[in-house]
């Protein structure tokens, strides 16, 4: 086997330019994702900068006065009138909206300029602002009528935008939740007025202190960068199996294999050489990738030696599975008449494994069945084991997937030996 092992490494060496690409490409990818993720998943609100124009056609003070004036002419008792009038002062939607838009909390990512309607539209068309918030004339009066007296139609604020970008969606969510809060408060306060409950004023309703994030005991958070760095490294290691197999096409085409057989060597030694070289190559690739990204980005800060040993063990299990897959692809290649079909199949399997294993696409966009299927692929299994290992799982939790990975290896090796042509079958 030694000879064949050496031969396969020489074959890799012959294509050192391509091997270099295979080493550099994932590194570049990890670097790029390092950039992308910092502005995407982590602290996603910090990088958002929304520019919006506010067109205020409403005069809230006059609106309130008009509302209170008209209230006096309504057939209500004096008590009710004072209650409603007091509620109205606490509920001026236009003013509340301005407060909300100018609060310190929103100032960090929201940039509001007050404009008249015409110039706002002009800026929108020139894409200088993301959206226009328009508060129509007489809004306060209409809103108060609708909120407190349930009279007249609903009062509308208009949000004008031409695209539905993330910025517009964030703005829309803000306004939606603001309006529904006001609606909710008004509904509560008017209901409690009519059912004789305690007075609830709009602005100062207490916020219940519930919820929050909780961490599992003894579990460490995984950063999305760790996730992607691992996912990409695993995928590229997996692709070594396809590479090895496609290098065997040349050996089939150029009758190398036949000559090996004629020299009286057992054919399985050839296959074993393939598997062994794939194993070493994928270990090398994973090691280089993870070590470099650890030193550039501090991938796993402050981990113990035990952690690194466990990590290596899981990765070595993965590389064994990759070696087994390479043997299977090589066996298929020699068994099938058309080597292109075999390499096409290995090519497709690589992509399918990569996708359902969660290495190529963010896992949350996959349907549920694909996510659970991903745990059956060697790369998906290794990824999920590593994630658990980073969180600080004990080895007791992991023996099951490790056992499965071992079974996978044995089964694939068995299949490839069975498929691989023996003497007299070629």
């Amino acid at each position: 086997m030694n000879v064949f092992f050496k031969k396969d490494f020489l074959v890799y060496w012959r294509d050192r330019k391509e091997m270099l690409i295979a080493f550099i490409l994932p590194l570049v990818l990890v670097v790029i994702l390092g950039f992308a993720l910092s502005g995407w998943v982590e602290n996603s609100n910090e990088n958002i900068e929304i520019k919006a124009a506010l067109v205020m056609l409403d005069q809230s003070k006059e609106g309130l006065e008009r509302f209170q004036y008209k209230l006096n002419s309504l057939p209500l008792t004096a008590d009710e009138k004072t209650a409603i009038s007091k509620a109205a002062e606490a509920f001026i939607p236009g003013a509340m909206l301005l407060d909300m838009l100018n609060s310190d909390e929103t100032k960090g990512f929201l940039n509001i300029t007050q404009l008249d309607e015409e110039s706002a539209l002009k800026q929108l068309n020139e894409e200088k602002v993301d959206a226009i918030i328009l508060v129509p004339e007489g809004y306060t009066e209409a809103a108060l009528n609708s909120l407190l007296l349930r009279k007249g139609g609903e009062a509308e604020i208009t949000l004008t935008a031409d695209t539905d970008s993330l910025n517009v969606q964030v703005l829309q969510n803000m306004l939606d939740s603001f309006l529904s809060d006001v609606n909710n408060q008004a509904a509560l306060s008017s209901a409690s007025r009519s059912y004789g409950g305690a007075e609830i004023s709009g602005a100062e309703a207490s916020l219940p202190l519930v919820g929050g994030m909780e961490q599992m005991e003894g579990v460490e958070m995984i950063t999305s960068f760790q996730y992607f760095a691992l996912a990409i490294s695993i995928f590229f290691a997996l692709s070594v199996s396809t590479t090895t197999a496609s290098k065997s096409i040349t050996e089939k085409r150029e009758q190398v294999f036949m000559r090996i057989l004629l020299a009286g060597t057992h054919p399985l030694r050839y296959l074993a050489g393939k598997a062994a070289s794939t194993f070493c190559m994928s270990v090398l690739q994973l090691a280089v990738l993870l070590v470099i990204s650890h030193f550039i980005y501090d991938l796993f800060p402050g981990k113990s030696l035990e952690f690194w040993i466990g990590l290596s063990f899981i990765l070595i299990m993965l590389c064994l599975a990759i070696a087994a897959l390479a043997a299977l692809y090589t066996a298929m290649l020699f068994r099938m008449k058309d080597a292109d079909v075999a390499s096409g199949i290995s090519f497709l399997l690589l992509i399918v494994f990569g996708i359902i294993g969660g290495n190529l696409v963010p896992i949350y966009i996959l349907p549920d069945w694909a996510i659970s299927l991903g745990n059956v692929t060697p790369n998906g299994l290794a990824l999920s084991m590593l994630l658990q290992w980073i969180q600080g799982s004990s080895f007791d939790d992991l023996w099951q997937p490790v056992f499965y990975q071992a079974i996978f290896c044995v089964a694939i090796v068995g299949a490839s030996v069975w498929i691989f042509p023996r003497r007299g079958r070629l």
């Binding site: 490409l25 969606q169 939740s177 509904a187 958070m221 496609s246 349907p367 694909a370 969180q391």
Partner: protein, 367 residues
């Protein structure tokens, strides 16, 4: 040129399995990954007390009234296991009238879910505390509910021309993304025939034949492009007729974008083939390069999510970005030719550059 087309076709007829497997698998993958439209994000819920009580069932009902998330009951152990394996973004632990979100990984869904769950709890708890002070709690609740059914204050969305504001259809974006993504493999696989021809010596014989180089290249180009276009058209037809997905009403424009994109991808594949000497090298590089493209083009994320200017600059040279822009604006916003000429021009420009460099590289190798 026709003789090259014929040659390719005869090869295909003799051994149709590979291309068929490729096209069928790509279509199946697109349907599977892109066809899962509008489904809710599932969040598993367990109770801190071990068993879901009546009041917790009520909370579940309230949580499930939204349309982004679906909350399902689950055993604590199973939910946590799924979370730790990285197969779920978050899980929800119910406490008496309180909750905790458990997550092990940062992600966009966690924030979204947190906001949503908090708003549900806030509303209900405020309602309850207000109801404490009144006599008839049931009627109080109904009265509040009746107000909220027709909310007095509303937000109206509109486009700047006064027309309706079109909400972004993320499902459609994924569908287009996966369709274009998988098509690249088919085209690349077909263009790779050239390196195969070179290693087997067919290429040299072709050069000696009276065919001109232009004809040889055009033959290969057109054949690969046809395979790619066929694949996309079949997928779109399945979505349109089979799954009733609305792709807009400008099929001519859609087809134009598809053709331009396919030609660009053929050119890109020729560039890759030009850089590689054997089909095996191509097999190594191609599947490593392609999956990066949708990530950088932002196919998997809502538009506007990527803000890094470096990434945006890289995305400009990726054909997928422009094709996605053209396809989504045609089918979501009803864009016309005047709106999509820019992305189409960029697409074709990338194609011309790739083709130029690619053929140059290929010819240099031959000499």
């Amino acid at each position: 040129m026709t003789s090259i087309l014929l040659k390719q076709w005869m090869k295909e007829k003799r051994n149709p399995l590979v291309l068929l497997i490729f096209i069928i698998l790509s279509i199946a993958a697109t349907l599977m990954f892109g066809g899962d439209r509008g489904s809710k994000i599932e969040i598993e819920v367990f109770s801190a007390s071990g068993e879901i009580s009546d009041s917790e069932t009520e909370w579940l009902r309230l949580l499930n009234s939204g349309d982004t998330f679906a909350f399902t009951e689950q055993e604590e152990k199973a939910a946590k296991k799924k979370l730790r394996e990285g197969r779920a973004d978050l899980t929800l632990k119910l406490l008496p009238d309180d909750y905790r979100i458990i997550a092990v990984m940062e992600g966009p869904n966690v924030q979204l879910a947190e906001q949503y769950i908090y708003s549900v709890y806030k509303r209900e708890l405020q309602l309850r505390s207000a109801a404490e002070t009144v006599q008839d709690k049931l009627e109080f609740r109904e009265s509040v509910q009746s107000v909220l059914e027709q909310p007095p204050l509303k937000l109206k969305l509109q486009a700047s021309d006064g027309g309706a504001h079109v909400p972004y259809d993320m499902g459609l974006q994924l569908l287009f993304g996966f369709t274009l993504f998988f098509m690249m493999f088919t085209v690349g696989y077909k263009v790779n025939v050239i390196t195969g021809d070179k290693t087997s010596g067919i290429w040299n014989r072709l050069i000696l034949s009276p065919l001109s180089k232009t004809q040889i290249y055009l033959g290969h180009l057109i054949y690969s492009a046809l395979a790619g276009i066929l694949q996309i058209v079949v997928i779109f037809l399945v979505f349109h007729y089979g799954l009733n997905v609305k792709l807009g009403d400008q099929y001519g424009l859609l087809l134009l974008v598809i053709v331009c994109y396919t030609v660009t991808i053929v050119a890109f594949s020729i560039l890759m083939v030009g850089m590689m000497r054997t089909p095996e090298q191509f097999h190594m590089l191609f599947p490593a390069v392609i999956p990066i493209m949708p990530l950088i083009s932002g196919v998997y994320m809502p538009p506007g999510t990527i803000t890094s200017s470096i990434l945006l600059a890289i995305a400009e040279v990726i054909p997928l970005t422009h094709a996605m822009e053209a396809l989504t604006s045609i089918s979501m916003y009803g864009a016309g030719m005047s709106d999509i000429w820019l992305p189409i021009t960029k697409l074709l420009l990338i194609g011309v550059i790739c083709m130029g460099i690619g053929i140059n590289l290929m010819e240099r190798r031959n000499a």
